[in-house]
Symmetry: C2
């Protein structure tokens, strides 16, 4: 089967509604064969309210949504899913819940072996990669590992922010943080997706979509800028 991923930087773009900025990509991605999407709301505390928001939005695109927390057996819900969407929120809370509910391996298997389409937004994009080492979130809970679902052989930094030369704040810029990550041995590449960017993966082809472009950080090399529409398929080979 062909692996299919839609990895979105952010669910809401300033001045528009939930998932509005990428809704055409969502419709095209899940297509006409998928009728029901399994939604994973683990990244936010109020799973019911979060599922309602996803359900309302997906309804307008012609899809039914099932919340994974509504199923008596979450692994079985993954086993039966036609499509999977993991929403954003706190990446640590999300990954810990994925492990607590023992669905990491089954999601990987369904996407890789069965070709179930996987959409992630923000934290849901982080957990699709090698590890959550390049999340922006606060570590509010301690997951059993930072290793994630591993659907691609690189990491992503969502909500990427360019350095602000006018800032008086002395916390590290995003670029400095990713550079610190790459000071560690054998760390994978980091694709930094600005808000408004998304990555489409179909089998061995990866394409940068959206409007804002991305920046690729590779350990020991200078960062490289990519325009929307760029072919990033080389990222899928190690």
């Amino acid at each position: 089967m062909k692996k299919r991923l839609l990895l979105v930087s952010n669910s809401t773009l300033h001045g528009s509604g939930y998932l509005d900025h990428c809704q055409q990509h969502i419709s095209h991605f899940f297509g006409k064969d998928v009728k029901r999407v399994l939604f994973v709301p683990y990244a936010l505390h109020d799973r019911d309210a979060y599922t309602k928001a996803a359900r309302d939005k997906f309804k307008t695109l012609g899809y039914e949504v099932d919340g994974i927390h509504e199923a008596s057996d979450p692994v079985d819900a993954v086993r039966k899913a036609e499509g999977i969407f993991i929403g954003g929120g706190n990446t640590f809370r999300l990954l810990k819940s994925l492990y607590d509910n023992k669905v990491v391996t089954e999601i990987r298997r369904r996407v890789i072996e069965d070709g179930v389409p996987y959409m992630g937004s923000s934290a849901g994009t982080n957990v699709a990669t090698v590890s959550i080492n390049t999340t922006n979130d606060m570590p509010i809970v301690y997951p059993p590992s930072f290793s994630a679902i591993g659907l691609v052989p690189f990491n992503i930094n969502p909500h990427y922010l360019d350095p602000d030369p006018t800032s008086r704040h002395m916390g590290e810029s995003r670029e400095q943080r990713i550079t610190q990550y790459h000071e560690e041995a054998e760390t994978p590449r980091v694709l930094a997706l600005r808000e408004g960017s998304l990555l489409l993966v179909e089998a061995d082809k990866a394409t940068l979509l959206g409007t804002t472009g991305a920046r690729l950080f590779t350990r020991g090399k200078t960062a490289v800028e990519y325009e929307p529409g760029s072919d990033l398929s080389f990222l899928l080979t190690h």
Copy 2:
């Protein structure tokens, strides 16, 4: 012995040099009895360069600096320290190195039992608290626990930033992040120190110093603002 802590939000304030903004507090804190300060540079990759920067600055204040990584036995270095300063950088890297070098317990013992003065800046302030759950840093390495040295019974968020109503960025504000932390059960209070703020603890007395104030977040309650000079001793009781 009296526990003595100087917990600084940030080592460098915009427009001034390393530790300039709090140098009078540092001199007053270590006083005339301390001659040598044990510096812990674990939060940055280049420990030698970092130790040189701390050494150069402390020299101007009349103190010698020993880098803990220069000692053949780091636990023994802690055992002999007259004063301890843990610098900022990446909090995950710092805490992992503290555990890797087995100095967490010995630092706690020296500060609590022997009254050795402890100064922390940024990440070095995070690790002095209950846990690193409220750091702002990127989780570039996986420490064996988020539990920290535990010199105070609350957490700190250094480099605190007030929400920016003009921002178009959709990542969580600092306030939202801390609120998400407090959605988790039994989470301690979080003292959010703006850049330019620091907390002095002497036995059972805690005083907010600096120029910019702090905001205290308590689970299930409205956040409370504190002006410089405030007596925060109540934070030291559970």
